[in-house]
Symmetry: C2
Subunit: 192 residues, 2 copies
DNA sequence: CCGGAAATGAAAGTGACTCGCATATTCGGA
DNA sequence: TCCGAATATGCGAGTCACTTTCATTTCCGG
């Protein structure tokens, strides 16, 4: 990774920090992207090139790409739900626990702001197609029709787990929240 | 329902039909709301009062409110997943089969247009909170933590069922698609 | 038939997001 | 170390979804 990418990442981190602070202070709608640009000292168009949308200023996570790698390592070697569960734990739990306060704050703001929560859900939906394809390939032929449900359910479990983790203030470890959510999924038949 | 509501509904149906036609012809982004307003002969601000957003021009369904009633009738009398499944079948299947061509067309356009599919998913998320509360109340205390997963999974099943119905061109009855999707949910434990 | 309530139309405004272009910065290779 | 190519940034103008306000019209109950 050269200077280019390094500078870009640094600018994005800085922009995100400023954005989160201002959003908390005055509300998501009341802060214009242009103000943030001025405060950070870059052009508004650069922010859009970096983040795409105003919502992504909050939702962006530098390391989100690593999830795919963890998934690829496990899908096909384990049953899909437990593969995805393990991949989430491996690629998210430790990292989120590391800067717990920042992530708790960020997630809290997402869950408490309709517009942001909506955008987050929409992001999950975009991930779903990709995950569905990967799951389908890892299932025996007779069960392939279940792929969209399995993939969707897995992302739902993650969402619920993050919600529980943040609303408990991080008291329950994130890894435990994820495992719990996935185990609830597998018990759906018993609940009926 | 007086003249007021009747006129409003008629105008909304007309607007939706014109919108769907134009969107298909020239693409969702290429059609301005103001053009639609001119063509229908109403003000753009009226369209926004009626639909709220451009996406709702496609997503709006006059009878969506009836789903809640069907849910209320069954939740608490049956296990939640089968209650929700039955409610969906009762309140959607027949109605969608009635004007099959229109609904297939509408859903096809939603599923093939990222922006619309995203907005649809966001709408589901808004319904989820409400459904979660209803499910929670219908569950025995020891299982209440499962409510968000149950509600989210049910909406996921509906989404997958509609997708399958539309992509099969309506060949498989919608009721069957819904029942299949929910039965896949209950088998998640076996897939692991 | 009339007075009040609600829906509509018209118009101006806001701000997220895009695009094209000139400039500056970085990268790979000589 | 220097140079040309690739790429990122700043700037400015533009588009359009959506909001708000207010005057006008339409509908409802009495």
């Amino acid at each position: 990774m050269g200077m280019r990418e390094r500078n870009r990442r640094a600018a994005m981190r800085e922009t995100q920090r400023v954005a989160l602070r201002r959003f908390r202070e005055r509300g998501f709608d009341a802060v214009r992207v242009e103000e943030l640009a001025d405060e950070v000292g870059i052009a508004a168009s650069t922010i859009y090139r970096h983040f795409g949308t105003k919502e992504q200023l909050v939702l962006w996570d530098e390391h989100d790409g690593e999830i795919d790698a963890a998934l690829g390592r496990r899908l096909g070697r384990q049953p899909p739900l437990s593969a995805i569960c393990d991949a989430f734990v491996e690629s998210l739990a430790d990292r989120y626990e590391e800067d717990r306060d920042f992530q708790l704050d960020r997630l809290g703001y997402v869950f408490s702001t309709e517009q942001l929560h909506g955008a987050a859900v929409e992001g999950d939906y975009r991930a779903r197609d990709e995950l569905t394809a990967a799951v389908r390939a890892s299932l025996p032929r007779r069960q392939r029709d279940a792929a969209p449900i399995v993939a969707g359910a897995a992302l739902l479990a993650l969402e619920v787990a993050l919600d529980r983790w943040q609303s408990s203030g991080g008291a329950t470890p994130l890894a435990e929240c994820i495992v719990d959510a996935f185990s609830t999924l597998e018990r759906l038949g018993a609940i009926g």
